[in-house]
């Protein structure tokens, strides 16, 4: 912040009021303050911790499932289900967004600020990194060699040039960059290793923003149907702007001895504009992929194959209705389909349940209009027996297995993968290749040659070990020269 914004100017003599001499607040200054706020490391740290804290709340508090968010009624029903736990706090927590944490305003604001902070931090830091990498500070004062955290000073009778060359050669041999500074006094060099490693933070920061961009793209584009049921032998349009039709031609489920599921697999065929374009056995870990549309095996169960004719005898529906939901008391299973503006519920007894009014070989149909919650017609159907309910004739043909699939197209996924790649690159660069620096000065003295090395970098046992080893190696070589010189004379 400049002094201009801090000092209050003296009023101009003769001014009508004291508002003539206000400090200027230009858009550039506003932007500058926002930018300075965002690239502040403490702000970044607080935002990271805030994101972590809100995520923790998302773990600790029950989260409203997407099915409950479909309409206001479902939402209210779900809220009532958690009211016994949270009592008077329920509405407050709901208003703050604790039950929908990961799409709540506080969470989205923190994540947006974090993304902005990361971008600002990266933009602010890149020039500094570039300067340090390409134009390092090669000159230090003599006092540096007395204060550096890691340092060594020793004398040798080897000539300054020979001692300097031994140091530089050893550094180069151990993959260090050597920048000789000719400005003196004595012979000086700056040495470093992995000078490109600090750019890893830029990769990691870019990764975070890329992943968040992927989340946004996923949320705003593509489609996802988590309840795409296919009754075996009955094709179904995928919809969502595609011309795809999917059909499960077979399904098999197997179990372990303890009754837990071992495997379930559907033989899936996909057609595009009437032509079969893909066929695969789809398991949980083996989805079918066609032009970015993925078919994932999710669940399975029993469907009721229904034939429905209108009053003129024309067939208006002939397909399976997956009995994919269960009543709260788990005694009945049911599914639904629509017929014009009517919703048809098909209800059967859950496996092993008796006394429900629906015997084996029977289903009950209930027809609802748009006006109210009372059925406009209902009947229990025997298998193979046409029964007229309202304007339609229903025939329960048979039970048939269905497979439940998740069908999705997510253009955000490749963006997230590229973000992960950047994250791995950035993390590896930053974590495994630390930037290490040292300065060397070799000069003449009364005892012969004075060698001084120093590194201000913070404690790093690996580099400390290397530094110590370098002193041992180079001082040893210099001593050998000294020994040979003595022997020769």
């Amino acid at each position: 912040m400049s002094d201009d914004t801090l000092t209050t100017p003296e009023p101009t003599p003769g001014a009508i009021d004291g508002l003539d001499d206000q400090a200027a607040l230009t858009p550039g200054m506003v932007f500058g303050h926002i930018y300075a706020f965002l690239h502040n490391k403490v702000v970044g740290l607080v935002l990271i911790l805030a994101a972590g804290l809100l995520s923790l709340f998302g773990v600790l508090f029950p989260q409203m499932p997407s099915s409950a968010r479909a309409d206001a009624e479902s939402m209210a029903s779900w809220i009532e289900s958690v009211r016994p736990t949270f009592g008077g706090w329920t509405d407050i927590l709901n208003a703050i967004g604790f039950f929908t944490m990961f799409s709540s305003i506080p969470f989205l604001v923190v994540m947006a600020l974090l993304a902005a902070s990361i971008v600002a931090c990266t933009v602010h830091r890149l020039p500094v990194l570039w300067q340090a990498a390409k134009h390092p500070h090669t000159r230090v004062t003599a006092a540096f060699f007395d204060r550096a955290r890691l340092r060594s000073t020793f004398t040798t009778s080897a000539s300054p040039e020979a001692a300097f060359e031994i140091l530089c050669a050893d550094a180069r041999k151990h993959r260090m960059r050597v920048v000789v500074d000719d400005r003196g006094p004595g012979l000086n060099a700056y040495m470093d290793r992995n000078y490109w490693a600090p750019f890893g933070t830029a990769f990691a920061h870019a990764a975070f923003v890329t992943i968040m961009a992927g989340f946004v793209v996923s949320a705003l584009s593509g489609f996802r149907n988590e309840q795409f049921t296919l009754t075996i032998g009955f094709p179904r349009e995928v919809g969502n702007g595609t011309n795809l039709v999917a059909e499960a031609t077979a399904f098999q489920d197997s179990y372990y001895d303890n009754g837990s599921p071992k495997d379930y697999v559907a033989d899936l065929r996909v057609s595009d504009n009437g032509e079969q374009v893909a066929q695969q056995q789809v398991r949980v870990n083996s989805p079918l992929s066609y032009h970015g549309v993925m078919f994932h095996q999710a669940y399975f169960g029993v469907a009721a194959v229904m034939k429905i004719d209108d009053s003129s005898g024309a067939e208006v529906f002939h397909n399976g209705v997956a009995l994919e939901w269960a009543t709260p008391d788990k005694t009945l299973t049911y599914g639904r389909t629509t017929l014009g503006d009517q919703t048809i519920y098909v209800i059967g007894s859950a496996s092993g349940q008796t006394g429900t009014g629906i015997e084996p070989g029977q289903v009950r149909v209930e027809i609802y209009g748009t006006a109210n919650n009372e059925p406009i017609g209902k009947a229990v159907l025997d298998v193979g027996t046409p029964t007229t309910v309202g304007d339609h004739t229903f025939t329960f043909e048979r039970e048939q297995q269905f497979t439940g699939m998740i069908v999705k197209k997510d253009p955000g996924t490749p963006i997230v993968w590229s973000g992960f790649l950047l994250l791995v690159i950035g993390t590896c660069m930053t974590m495994f290749f630390r930037h290490h620096r040292m300065w060397v000065r070799v000069s003449g003295c009364d005892e012969g040659t004075l060698v001084r090395l120093g590194s201000p970098d913070r404690q790093d046992s690996g580099f400390t070990r290397f530094f110590t080893g370098m002193i041992m190696r180079t001082s040893g070589k210099m001593a050998h020269i000294e020994e040979r010189t003595n022997n020769a004379s």
Binding site: K41, L45, G52, S55, V59, A298, D410, V424, T468, I471
Partner: protein, 307 residues
């Protein structure tokens, strides 16, 4: 038969870790009582004298490190060997279990408890050999022991793999990165606790704060990339199995929180004012998040309810 063999090896491992824990505590107590250790520590307080290799000429390095040779058959030597043997036996135990069940031993809470303990012993052995801060064992080994004892309270009967877990490469990599990352987190936790205790301990044999700070960072250099890989692999697996790379499942969200805390720690080290005690507290918080993530599925269920 192999399953019982595996279980027997686990018991031996637990006994060895118990012995090593007692040995280290005894060694620290003995060193605390000894006057010699004070002299030895003072000598290594930052300035070392290294040989040039020519005659008896030496050079002084301020801030340098010189590892003295490990003395054999001391109490800590036996403790170290016990820990190393425990690592070998636990590895064999896990392999035996893998042969029995036909899959990597990472499919239920018991197996992940063992994998977690294995990761911690691996980290203990590696960091002790690499950095020689043997004192950390008095914190790390009791935690390992607690995990092994906890595992012994769980049913060791193998549970069959449910369809979602039948992805051997991803299951193995996802869990092994978690085990190693969590294991190294215990070392950083120990270093942080010792760092925070250092000002209150007058004994000069206690490791210098500078070294503990570096050890905590070094362990996090293992933890953070491993957690990163764990999250990425989990994300890829989630996309294959359930068609989404992120589902805000309680355990994966808790793992994200853990990752964020370690990310904050690394971020904090860049900020001058957050070195030392503050960053040590972040490591303590990070380990608390690790424990919460590990045990969280017992309370929250979700896609990771099995482990």
């Amino acid at each position: 038969m192999l399953l019982e063999f595996s279980q027997a090896l686990l018991l031996v491992t637990t006994a060895l870790v118990t012995l090593a824990t007692i040995a280290y505590l005894g060694a620290v107590f003995a060193a605390r009582m000894s006057r010699n250790s004070v002299v030895a520590t003072a000598e290594s307080a930052g300035t070392v004298v290294v040989s040039t290799g020519v005659g008896d000429q030496t050079v002084t390095v301020t801030g340098g490190i010189r590892h003295t040779p490990v003395r054999r058959f001391t109490i800590t030597w036996w403790a170290t060997k016990s820990t190393q043997l425990a690592l070998v036996l636990l590895t064999v135990s896990m392999i035996a279990r893998m042969i029995t069940t036909g899959h990597a031993p990472f499919s239920n809470h018991y197996e992940f408890a063992i994998a977690f303990a294995w990761g911690m012993i691996l980290a203990q052995v590696y960091f002790e050999a690499r950095y020689r801060v043997r004192m950390m064992s008095i914190i790390v080994l009791p935690i390992i022991l607690a995990m092994l004892v906890y595992a012994s309270t769980l049913s060791y009967e193998p549970s069959p793999l449910m369809p979602a877990l039948q992805n051997s490469p991803l299951l193995t990599l996802h869990v092994i990165t978690a085990s190693i990352g969590y294991g190294a987190a215990v070392v950083s936790f120990a270093a942080a606790v010792m760092y925070l205790l250092a000002p209150h301990i007058s004994w000069k044999g206690w490791p210098r704060q500078e070294i503990l700070d570096d050890l905590g960072y070094k362990a996090t250099v293992v933890t953070f990339p491993m957690l990163t890989m764990m999250l990425i692999l989990g994300s890829i697996w989630g996309n294959v199995a359930w068609g989404r790379y992120w589902g805000w499942d309680p355990k994966e969200t808790a793992a994200l929180v853990t990752w964020l805390i370690y990310g904050a720690y690394l971020h904090a080290r860049v900020t001058r004012n957050w070195r030392g005690s503050k960053s040590a507290w972040l490591l303590v918080l990070g380990f608390a998040a690790v424990v919460f993530t590990y045990l969280g599925n017992l309370f929250f269920g979700g896609l990771h309810a099995y482990a």
